[in-house]
């Protein structure tokens, strides 16, 4: 019984984690790329990582919070432009290849020991080196607060302050994307997803619209990266290929090309994974599968789930099947 309560507590706690919210922000960005524009960005974790580095290194250099935050945004914009200029003129597959490679380049460069003094090499940067300016902005003061069955520090490393800010951002960005996609600009973006040659024959500069979309989604990725490291630390390997595919799975699970899909998908995704892991730990004897193995098993299930989703329910939980097709 205690075991089940613990699983339920872990699941509910994961739903409000600031890292879950940061993940959602990156997923909203990927949804702008893939769901609305049809861009196959296979390196969203690279956008997160470059934003995270931009932020953490700037704070380390003594810049104030907002300056570092804007540097992270500019890093995302620059990364989008560098990727987009050579590839957005080409067929969609090429963007996929280039983004997956570029994200790996960012991670490998960050890990390089020659940059130890700046990026911390493969150890990354500790949370203390960049989180204080954010904590100092807290409106919640000291102490602890209990809401429902959750009790956390008001400010702390991983407290209510970072939860409030990151989830506020999630809903702010969801609202911005909603406004963008119902504007005339958003209509052109969606029509590019449907048939970009037809959009060209209507006299629109498809390249420029795709570039704008890549920048918008990339900036959301970079902000997601900043918020992802604030309650923890900057680990380059935490934002590698795995991260990109987790974001894809969460976005597809919720429903691409919808506003709430990435939010719902991420929350359900993390909760479900904890449920699989927790249940396995409870019912499978250690002799069959130990704790590390149940965790690995739960990640294997993520891969299986992604395949099943794309095959049987490409529209996800709340998407529209007609609106989403995978013919790239």
């Amino acid at each position: 019984m205690d075991g089940i309560i613990k699983i339920l507590y872990d699941m509910s706690a994961s739903m409000i984690l600031p890292t879950t919210a940061a993940f959602v922000i990156a997923a909203i960005g990927l949804n702008v790329h893939f769901g609305f524009t049809g861009l196959l960005n296979m390196g969203q974790a690279g956008f997160m990582l470059i934003g995270a580095y931009g932020f953490a290194i700037s704070i380390g250099a003594g810049l104030p919070f907002w300056a570092a935050f804007f540097i992270a945004i500019f890093a995302g914009i620059a990364f989008a432009l560098i990727l987009g200029i050579p590839t957005l003129q080409l067929r969609g597959d090429y963007l996929a290849i280039v983004t997956i490679a570029a994200a790996e380049i960012i991670r490998m460069v960050g890990r390089a020991s020659i940059l130890n003094d700046i990026t911390g090499g493969s150890n990354g940067l500790t949370g203390e080196s960049f989180r204080n300016p954010f904590a100092e902005m807290s409106l919640f003061g000291d102490g602890q607060t209990q809401i429902l069955w959750f009790e956390f520090d008001n400010t702390g490393v991983n407290g209510w302050w970072s939860r409030a800010v990151t989830w506020f951002m999630v809903f702010l960005f969801a609202a911005i994307v909603w406004l963008l996609m119902r504007s005339p600009w958003g209509r052109v973006i969606k029509s590019i997803r449907e048939d970009e040659d037809a959009v060209r024959s209507l006299g629109k500069n498809v390249f420029s619209f795709k570039m704008q979309s890549l920048v918008v989604g990339g900036v959301l990725g970079a902000i997601g990266g900043v918020m992802f490291i604030l309650p923890t630390s900057l680990q380059p390997d935490a934002m590698g290929r795995n991260m990109t595919f987790l974001i894809w799975t969460a976005m597809l699970l919720g429903g691409a090309a919808t506003i709430f899909g990435p939010i719902l998908g991420s929350i359900v995704f993390f909760a479900l994974r904890l449920m699989v892991q927790g249940t396995m730990r409870l019912i499978v004897p250690d002799a069959w599968m130990n704790i590390q193995q149940t965790e690995q098993f739960s990640w294997i299930m993520v891969g299986v789930a992604l395949m099943l989703l794309v095959i049987f329910r490409p529209q996800g939980m709340i998407g529209n099947k007609k609106e989403l097709n995978f013919n790239v």
């Binding site: 005339p184 600009w185 048939d195 037809a198 959009v199 060209r200 006299g203």
Partner: protein, 251 residues
Amino acid sequence: MPTQDIAISLTDVDKRFGGLRAVKNVSMEVRAGERVSMIGTNGAGKSTLFNLIAGVFPVTAGSVSMFGSVVTKQNTAKRARNGLARTFQTSRLFEQLTAAENVFIALGGRGLGWKSIFPASRLAQKWTRVAQLLHTVGLSTEGDRRVADLSHGEQRQLELAMALAADPKILMLDEPAAGFSPAERQQLVAMLTALPADITLLLIEHDMDIALQVADRVIVMHDGSKILEGTPDEIRASQVVRDIYLGGGHA
């Protein structure tokens, strides 16, 4: 020599797809405001020629001019902004958007870029124009329906509205009557004849009645080459055209 009065001018245009020579050394001129039909059997190179004029793919040899300036190297979007509108042989619509939204996207001019994300009153004028265009093609009541839910005929009509939306100087229609009922065909002819006189019309059409009714001049394509050019009456009387269409000597 190309001048301002010549809307479209092709000089020795050739197009190869690998080993296939789809268009062979075609030269032609269409005067501004002229109505020209292109006829010919399937595979004659009509649609390829359209795509070359619209800039969908580059010519292998030869040059293309619009209103006296050479556009051979210009991309599709640029040619479209310079006044060329076209429809496709098979509908290329944005199926998940409504009919009105499709026309809105096709509207020329500014107002779709970044600034469009802020609500502005000038958008109201654009929606009025959309309603007018839908009315012109007989879709007044279908504006709010998703394109995927429209009938085939309605989709073809919508394409016309979109082609007209940019106030084109040159209108190129690729088999606009395909799949139309006889009644819809008559509507189409009425609409095409009612087009403003300054619009240059280039039409690909398999329905000979429509092709000959609408046109001032007819160009006959066969096997990648232009084989005949003349008034509708001359074409009607031509033995060559009869042979091609009825499976005579050329087929």
